[in-house]
Symmetry: C2
Subunit: 277 residues, 2 copies
């Protein structure tokens, strides 16, 4: 693992690191924020998964999460959103290929060699970060924005022992029924829709739910409401009696100004689940 | 004045606007954050001046200031750092020309037509924002980072009636004696060094000081310490018995991770001076 940069930030360290990923068969870059409390012992961790077109960097510089993580004593991990590089397949569209991994293990050509973001976030990167940083793997939580909210919800329900809490900002809530989803799930997983079910938060909420609290924030002025389909997930949460909250935030859009505005609530939500407050 | 974008942010509005600047003889873009309190009356304002290579956007998305401004009930204004455009002179170096206006009125060719950032920030943009937004021009404060810290300090001392408080993050503290300064002041103002004095925070602190409190934060691991010359300004502040604080922050560098880490302190410092808390 190679250190790209480390900057003091709210009394802790915001680092960027690179490693050769076995899951993705290419070098992968990620960010880790260690709060001041990590100097004297291991700390719980909140995973943050980003959305379409993002790298590890967007949330790291724009979401303001470190302020609240430092106060709570929580590490943050910011994975990239896909494999990258000249040898990695890509597509001209912003929403397929590099920057758009959708947190699945692709089974279809040309994607299946590198696009294994489920394994990367579920298995490989957790091993890397717990081996290299003072992180308590017994206390993990996960969140994300848009495609990353989709990833957070599907990973949390797909790895039921791993996370104590899950939240999402404007998640892609029902990709099996949306143009943000059908295109990518077809390309990565093939046309057989039964293979998509593990990668649809609404279908997972209907089938199994989450053993813990769930927090969803969605802006009422989000320019992508038709693609996100929040109503499907809200209905599924209520039908399952899923503990948690689905909040509609008046006037907010899909931007990081929305994410930053409610980041404190999300970090403190996870801090309670992780026994920090 | 043209609206480029408006996003809900911490209950207020983060906007970006463009107007034809008479001072700079070109279109200029700026950001304004209005806190929730601006819906029911005029609010005080904190000006944020950015550093070399920045636009209006950097601090707006990376400094996290809106969280604290919303709480305090304070507007934020984010000007650009220079005139811009294909008709505006530039230099290949990152630290001269576009993105590097140094907050002076250039008197030398080819800069003098457009590079009038002192007049722009001191006179023109204040008229624009007070005419278009619910801002109380009797309650103004100013801050900035690096070249913007230089601008904040020199404007605050050069317009003694305008600002109640001034602060700076890692300011270029003594440009008349630094390679971050001598090059630009020579190019914009000519070789006669007496013309530079109004644009050197240390010289202004020696000559007149500021009628109010001053807050300076400087990281001890700043990669540009030799160019910033914080010791010159610290000495001048102490010699003048200038009310305020000059703080060395252990382990912090020159990045926005440093700025964000202490933004709350700066916003609350100005909020006290502006009678908000």
């Amino acid at each position: 693992m190679q250190t790209i940069s480390e900057n003091r930030c709210f009394g802790g360290i915001q680092g960027v690191y690179r490693h050769d990923s076995a899951a993705c068969s290419c070098p992968m870059t990620f960010g880790v924020y260690l709060p001041p409390q990590a100097r004297t012992g291991s700390v719980p961790v909140l995973w943050y998964l980003s959305g379409l077109t993002c790298t590890h960097e967007n949330a790291m510089v724009k979401a303001g999460a470190q302020a609240w993580a430092a106060r709570a004593g929580m590490a943050l991990v910011f994975p990239d959103t896909s494999p990258r590089g000249p040898d990695v397949p890509d597509d001209e569209a912003y929403d397929l290929g590099q920057g758009a991994g959708f947190y699945v293990n692709a089974t279809q050509s040309p994607w299946s060699t590198h696009f294994r973001m489920w394994d990367y976030v579920a298995e490989e990167l957790p091993r890397i970060v717990t081996a290299n940083f003072p992180i308590d793997e017994e206390r993990q939580a996960i969140t994300g924005h848009s495609m990353g909210g989709h990833g957070a919800l599907t990973l949390a329900m797909g790895q039921p022992e791993r996370f104590r809490s899950v939240s999402a900002f404007a998640p892609i809530a029902h990709p099996a029924r949306s143009d943000w989803g059908r295109k990518q799930l077809s390309a990565y997983l093939g046309e057989r829709e039964s293979a998509w079910a593990l990668h649809d938060a609404t279908l997972q909420m209907q089938a199994r739910g989450f053993d813990g609290e769930v927090l969803i924030d969605q802006g009422t002025e989000d320019q992508f409401l038709d693609l996100l389909m929040p109503q499907a997930l809200a209905e599924a949460m209520a039908a399952r009696r899923q503990p948690g909250a689905f909040r509609l935030q008046q006037g907010y859009d899909h931007s990081y100004f929305f994410v930053a505005s409610f980041m404190r609530d999300h970090v403190e939500f996870h801090a309670r689940a992780l026994d920090l407050i």
